[in-house]
Symmetry: C2
């Protein structure tokens, strides 16, 4: 097994926290996204969406998309479970994982990728170029502020995103929040439940090892 990685980017960070939680070690191949190595034909043959992380199995099969790699590995290494064990946990973790990705992670990506500091024509991850749309910067910022308020409300009633255990939904949310802060949209002081959760999960050894 081989993991194509670029540990500074947020999706690889999600996977790396997941791997640390499970104490899984996989040999890495560094794909330099800033040099555009993800678009080389040899890599595109492994990852049709030209993205990292991508996991290559020993039979040559390649799996990309963070949740897909995590779910593959969860099946082989079920402990500790990060996608739930009871039907209800399984549903709620997927629900919050998806909401955090769509409303949070993609909003930060819009803010960042459509702004002046990112490559021209690279408004979206994937094999195709799309021009930046400057309106998505402001909309991204509005969406992040709404996301903060929404998850602060959710976390007022519970320690973690889905019930009493740390899960894949917390990993997606944590990486999203840190990505937003790096993009200069900090958590507002009045979001006390969100700040409390953020401090709690940031102390985990898996997060400390991937910060």
């Amino acid at each position: 097994m081989k993991l194509y990685d670029y540990s500074d980017a947020p999706n690889p960070r999600r996977l790396n926290i997941f791997l640390s939680e499970k104490s899984i070690c996989i040999p890495r191949v560094h794909v330099d996204l800033l040099k555009g190595e993800q678009f080389e034909a040899s890599f595109k043959a492994k990852s049709p969406n030209c993205d990292v992380p991508t996991l290559e199995l020993d039979d040559g099969t390649c799996i990309s998309q963070t949740n897909a790699i995590c779910r593959y590995l969860e099946t082989l290494h079920p402990e500790p479970p990060l996608y739930g064990t009871t039907p209800k946990e399984i549903g709620l973790i997927e629900m919050w994982n998806q909401i955090c990705f769509t409303n949070g992670f993609q909003a930060v990506a819009d803010l960042f990728r459509n702004g002046p500091d990112w490559f021209e024509e690279r408004a979206l991850i994937g094999p195709h170029n799309y021009a930046k749309i400057p309106e998505l910067v402001d909309r991204g910022r509005q969406r992040i502020m709404n996301f903060y308020a929404d998850i602060n409300h959710h976390l007022a009633a519970q320690c973690y995103f889905a019930g009493n255990h740390f899960s894949a939904a917390d990993i997606t949310a944590l990486v999203t929040v840190d990505f937003a802060q790096w993009a200069k949209v900090p958590i507002p002081k009045q979001c006390k439940s969100l700040l409390h959760w953020h401090a709690l999960v940031s102390e985990r050894p898996s997060v400390q090892a991937n910060s």
Copy 2:
């Protein structure tokens, strides 16, 4: 168990095809999206993202997000499996499900929700209003055309999205392609593998029952 539904919309259609494949019947509550019933406080308390489908369990727990409801139900009704059984299938189905949703479904949603035929300020699903960005209409169309070409290439080598079986990834892809055609972006004639797959999956009783 109760399912909050609006069967004309594409995400509810994904779930309804899934339910037909598994012969699961759940009592429905119609939420009229065109009248804005999803924003009423009583529904928002059940579905914080104000979206359908949302499943209410007998203990009052509510699960929204199509994949979350499907995964909950897959655990209770494993046959026929639509998220895979071997680790490799599980990974590849999640990978293609995610790629089809991000590169396809969200592109059609952008095209449709930012155009003249949709409500003002409703550019994104969810509890918050965002103004339309007209550039997303053209970008949505470009993305759909690229999506068609990419999945046509993928389907040249296999009957279904992930291996030899119909799966949740095929459901997401089918509903995406039909949503795009409804939004007047038909599959190009040269995408022969995609057209072949589309004809094959459209014949399934689960799809016929939800068309």
